[in-house]
């Protein structure tokens, strides 16, 4: 029997594409963040499929991003994204004023003195803080999650996250590389 769903799934949406661009394959050489990002990606793909199966097909990319901000966000984070901005050229910024997974994160303790380490690029090879958990590291999983949802709905994107000084507010930047056809 073959594994499916949450389990030890062999099915990959498109082979080597599973790990983000810039991540060097499945080697153990990648930082801990790479693993978190790709786990997020896998979960994102699966959840994206589950939550979109009973709705009408999407009109366009904006429709998919709206689904992400409303339906998906509500299921996973129990609230909607507070603000969605776009430049109409493939960049979306999702702002969540109370991002659930950062509610008990503390800037001082987590990030040390290096607040700029909070910016994390998923798939763009951002370096996790050395031996120290940064808020950026906490956001690698959700970055992967977002990338996975979009991927499973036909959009390839690069997702990065930024925390402003005011935790638990957080924004995700989605740069679309290839639109749904």
């Amino acid at each position: 029997p073959k594994a499916n769903g949450g389990g030890v799934q062999e099915r990959r949406p498109s082979g080597a594409q599973e790990r983000g661009p810039g991540e060097a394959g499945a080697g153990p050489g990648g930082g801990p963040g790479d693993g978190l990002e790709s786990m997020g990606f896998q979960v994102g793909c699966q959840l994206g499929e589950r939550y979109s199966k009973s709705r009408a097909s999407f009109d366009d990319t904006l429709d998919i991003v709206k689904f992400l901000c409303k339906d998906f966000w509500t299921e996973v984070f129990r609230k909607q994204v507070d603000n969605l901005k776009t430049n109409h050229r493939g960049v979306f910024v999702l702002y969540d004023s109370k991002f659930r997974w950062l509610r008990s994160a503390s800037a001082g303790k987590m990030m040390g003195d290096n607040a700029s380490a909070a910016a994390v690029g998923a798939g763009s090879g951002g370096q996790p803080g050395q031996g120290k958990t940064t808020v950026g590291d906490l956001l690698r999983f959700p970055c992967g999650l977002i990338r996975g949802v979009l991927f499973t709905l036909g959009i390839k994107a690069v997702v990065s996250a930024d925390v402003a000084s005011s935790l638990p507010a957080c924004s995700f930047t989605v740069k679309i590389q290839q639109q749904a056809k």
């Binding site: 073959k2 594994a3 769903g5 949450g6 389990g7 030890v8 786990m39 896998q42 959840l47």
Partner: protein
Amino acid sequence: MSSKGKVASSVAGERINSELFTLTYGALVRHLLLDLESPEEVNKQLDRMGQNIGVRLVDDFLAKTNTTRCRNFKEAVKTIADTGFKMFLGIDAKVTQIGDKECKMVLNDNPLIDFVELPEKLEPLSYCNLLCGVIRGALEQVSMKVEVLISKDPLKGDERFELHMKLLEYINEEYPFADD
């Protein structure tokens, strides 16, 4: 989402999406399988991770429940089954056999294995080994050294999920506590 589809998290009354939980655990196990050489190694790693969780979880548990001190293994097992599983996984566990040093516990519903099937080549994988580690780690913090094994596993064809726990020894608390 079905009403069953919610898992209790550490904060009483606060819940996380159970599909997210289940799928994330699946992704974790899958990732370990990719990174480590054999399913046996994955079992060990899951156990270690669980232990780390258990060591912390017990503090959370004691802080949020009005549990009085468990004087012996039997009481500890009952507390885990009655309160622990309910609180952290939102499921009921039933103690089916209990002795002074051994017990068996059946989980009626195990959210970790929703959607999961194991391929044959992963026969040695003990998919839920994290749970064993959690219990071991938690009891270690309250002075009991135990061994926990998955004795029945629906992923391997059994009807229900069953844990087998064995008390190895009571640990005497040593003073002064070593610094972390």
